[in-house]
Amino acid sequence: MYRYDEFDHAFVSARVEQFKDQVERRLAGELTEDQFRPLRLMNGVYLQLHAYMLRVAIPYGTLSSRQMRKLAHIARHYDRGYGHFTTRQNLQYNWPALKDMPKVLDELASVEMHALQTSGNCIRNVTADHFAGAAADEVADPRPYAEILRQWSSMHPEFSYLPRKFKIAVTGAERDRAAIQVHDIGLHLKKNDAGELGFAVYVGGGQGRTPMVAKKIRDFLPVEDLLSYTTAIMRVYNLNGRRDNKYKARIKILVHETGTEELTRQVEAEWQVLKETDLKLPQKDVDAIDSYFAPPSLPVRPEGWSGLAAARKADHSFSTWVDQNVTPHKNPDYGVVTISLKPIGGIPGDATDAQMDLVADIAEKFSQDEIRVSHEQNLVLPHVAIADLRIVYDLLLTDGLATANAGLITDIIACPGLDYCALANARSIPVAQRISERFGKPERQADIGELKIKISGCINACGHHHVGHIGILGVEKKGEELYQISLGGSGDEICTIGDITGRGFSSEEIVDAVETIVDRYLDIRTDKEENFLATYRRVGAAPFKDALYSEAANAA
């Protein structure tokens, strides 16, 4: 894992001291709220419905046990005993007091964490494939490049006041688990025919009120040119992005209005100026960062497979969990374990302080001291020996962390919604809970197969509803919550924005509507191998709309 150097320590500590002073001045009345608001936002402090909210960055979703224990400690001592893992690989505390914020940031700094650039019109926390450095299908670990981007973008003076916020995601596998095509910049680390590493560069993706799939503007960018090319994109955006209308200020609008070809031309022209400057990455610097992410030295553990077979035979629940929540590792003696934060009927992404401590303990003993946070609001143990799966499962069971539903219909993404969020128009979490309960039986989930439901409580789409196989958007209409459904969205390598089905559904109707869609899918799929998305892509929206809105459906 990356460790802070002297510069990082000094920089983060200085920012904590600076914010401490700003909070003191605010509480003393020396700063007005108008003066203080942009300062607190730069440090991840929002105001929500019930209290302040602190958004902590988890760069590229990687945590050590020590860091996770600190997150638990903060939840216990400064909050209400839990935290909420988000679709941006961040952690949010929902109840901290303003006067405690400097102490919390101090605590975070002590384990090399912070809340910088988790808000504001700057380059936000760089996200990455949550299986990075472990997945069997990976070409190379993308996290060293995410770390280089983090260092480069932290307090970058030129890019601290962009037209709007800016999100970068990086993946190192063909299978896109980081949803890079719905980010402002998506980087796909790959090898060319000569075996050299480089990036396919995507620009202008995003969700929100104007969802767009990013455009690929370069098929192969040598890794040494990462910063010069990214700077070129940022400069074109910073210069030409709209500042007259907040809703048209993201780079996706610039790409759309300029045209991909012309925008690419502008970026390439800017890049020619920057290409041979100090922004070219020296190999020794890349190697230095790379060394922090060197694969752990994993002991040979071939005995796991025979033991696993017996354990699976003896316990069907364990076997189901292995099928659903364990993904192939680069090392055949190991697996990548997804810890579901989606217990049936639970709150997606929430973890108690005790659960965080438990995960930290398990990671320390059984996963090389590493934990990942996924944008799907789950946790990941990236390096678990097959031989240790049973004991890890048993430990997870002790605190409700062994739900075998990764990628299934109850593995729902949901934003905090109107239960917490000042921007929301409708609640998300209770809808997720009711859907989870409706489909919670293991046999039913297994029969339905892979199906991603994503729910947002407002048009800002923090719940990624546009790329849900079934997406649900909550709005407020005539004082009531109303839920729009979209179908066929996907955030993976074949990225699509879902199609809105038609009129929305009331809170009472929405779970039945989802069940109607699922039942229709089960009726028309060619066989069990054809998952929901494949069926939707084959037949389109018509059979589902028919099921939802036909006269017969309405009479039922």
């Binding site: 605010r26 509480l27 009345g29 007005t32 709220e33 105001l47 929500q48 419905l49 019930h50 209290a51 302040y52 209400r80 109840w95 007091a97 303003l98 006067k99 709150i347 109107l418 239960d419 917490y420 000042a422 929301a424 609640r427 979490i429 209770p430 809970q433 407020e476 004082g479 919550e481």
Partner: protein, 104 residues
């Protein structure tokens, strides 16, 4: 008939509060100063501006409520949730101290 009250979040901890008839900011909506006509609403707005200036509260808003018996019932779900707490965690927020209430 709907009437109006003034709500905000307390500066120090973000707690949802309502302006009381005694001029204090209350942690519960009961006892909030009710504005029944335009002049009274203007007075609420002025009180809000003054409170912002004195750095007691932030995010000050006049909201619609209904008088239901002796209780005040915010018309928007958003405000009912602020009044009580998250609907999915009845152990948190003000409702944890008022177990009989429901938010939605």
């Amino acid at each position: 008939m709907s009437v109006k009250v003034l709500t905000a979040n307390r500066l120090t901890d973000g707690e949802a509060v309502w302006l009381g008839a005694n001029g204090e900011w209350l942690e519960q909506i009961d006892g909030a100063l009710i504005a029944r006509h335009a002049e009274a609403v203007s007075a609420l707005e002025e009180a809000g501006k003054a409170a912002i200036k004195s750095n007691l509260v932030i995010d000050v808003n006049v909201i619609d409520v209904e008088e239901r018996g002796t209780n005040l019932y915010p018309l928007r779900l958003r405000e009912r949730i602020r009044q009580l707490g998250p609907t999915i965690r009845l152990d948190l927020g003000k409702q944890a101290e008022k177990p009989k209430a429901t938010a939605a």
